[in-house]
């Protein structure tokens, strides 16, 4: 065999092994790589006792319509992922993008079935459009995205 083709085969095997091992590592670390859990994930994990309630975690989802309650600086709202939902209580500054049906990520702990957050980040989506276009879509009733 020519040394060239030998090197090619070695490289090919090397890349296959590298890809496979990376896949296995990422697969087994999946729980740590995800930046947040959805309400469905969380409720499942609570039921199966998979979660350490004393540890801080992140949950993400959409702010539920008509669920935002403000009392001074304290705020409570529900976030949902279309299937399940969870109540979040928070005391602090909200990001500008915070509103109904907006995707958010909250950091905090679960305390008697409520999620008490210490930090809230807004999750931006992948849609980019000028304001006039979004206004027009809303006017024509073709608006599929956020409510406001």
């Amino acid at each position: 065999m020519k040394p060239k083709s030998q090197r090619l085969i070695i490289l090919f095997f090397f890349l296959t092994l590298l890809g496979l091992s990376t896949f296995l590592v990422l697969k087994s670390l999946e729980d740590n790589i995800v930046y947040f859990y959805s309400p469905t994930d969380i409720n499942k994990k609570i039921l199966s006792n998979e979660i350490d309630l004393s540890k801080r975690i992140r949950i993400g989802g959409l702010v539920k319509e008509n669920s935002i309650l403000k009392k001074g600086k304290k705020i409570s709202f529900k976030i949902h992922d279309g299937i399940d939902e969870i109540l979040v209580i928070y005391n602090g500054i909200l990001p500008d993008l915070f509103r109904e049906e907006q995707g958010i990520v909250a950091l905090g702990k679960i305390e008697n079935k409520k999620f008490s957050a210490i930090e809230i980040l807004a999750k931006h989506d992948e849609n980019y459009m000028p304001k006039e276009v979004s206004d027009m879509l809303k006017k024509n009733g073709k608006w599929k995205g956020k409510l406001n």
């Binding site: 060239k4 090197r7 090619l8 990376t22 947040f36 990001p95 500008d96 980019y128 459009m129 000028p130």
Partner: protein, 238 residues
């Protein structure tokens, strides 16, 4: 064609007449692209003016990844066919890629603070981009670590190929895992989810970055060829 151009002298002769026009193109595209994106494109319905960071953030991120891909491909050519010119190309691409990856992270965090409410989070997209940046550092470090530069070529090439595994992770991190970073807007199955008026300046910027990258890499290749010649002359003199 590739075989023909793989000879440094023929390559230099080939690029001489087109080099200047590549520079002019890169200047023109980036000038027009910046004008459109800063002054003549609509505000986003959610982000307002902050969306304008996207017009440089996306080209930086794309080219940071593309340039890394080209380093790894050149490294494969170098390792298997032992072609010294492939090594020169890989070395010439690396500094530009490093700068792009750093600027991706910087512009991204400038956008993240007003939009997300944080400069930095350890989500999969941001972390894999940081790893790309570290791979660039490592590549440049290893390829220049030896007194005779050529001794660093092989280990650096192996490192470059190992780092290639990171590229699909960067691209698909937003689909595989929950991340704070938004999913892809341009390259996706159901077509771009970005309005045409905003896509146009972005495409012009991407073309400008393409020409600019080629232009700068050509200059680097010429410098590296001259340096190599100089080193071999010194060796001859003993």
């Amino acid at each position: 064609m590739i075989n023909y151009l793989a000879n440094p002298n023929r390559f230099l002769n080939f690029i001489k007449p087109i080099e200047f026009s590549i520079g002019v193109f890169s200047f023109l595209f980036i000038f027009i692209g910046l004008y459109l994106s800063l002054f003549n494109s609509p505000e986003d319905y959610q982000q307002g003016d902050t969306v304008r960071i996207m017009y440089i953030h996306v080209p930086f991120a794309w080219f940071a990844s593309f340039l890394y891909l080209s380093i790894s491909i050149a490294s494969i050519f170098f390792l298997i066919w032992r072609h010294p010119f492939a090594d020169i190309i890989a070395r010439s691409v690396a500094p530009l890629g490093l700068i792009f990856s750093i600027l991706t992270i910087l512009t991204g965090s400038l956008w993240g603070k007003p939009m997300w409410g944080t400069w930095w989070v350890w989500d999969a997209r941001l972390t894999s981009m940081l790893i790309l940046c570290i791979f660039y550092f490592a590549y440049i470090g290893i390829s220049n670590a030896f007194p005779r530069k050529i001794d660093g070529s092989k280990p650096a090439a192996i490192l470059a190929i190992v780092g290639m595994i990171n590229l699909p992770i960067i691209k698909f991190s937003v689909d595989w895992w929950n991340t704070l970073h938004q999913p892809a807007s341009i390259i996706r199955f159901d077509g771009p989810s970005i309005n045409q008026e905003m896509l146009l300046p972005l495409v012009i910027m991407l073309l400008g970055f393409l020409f600019m990258s080629i232009f700068i890499i050509l200059i680097n290749i010429k410098t590296n060829l001259i340096y190599k010649k100089y080193q071999s002359e010194i060796l001859k003199l003993g």
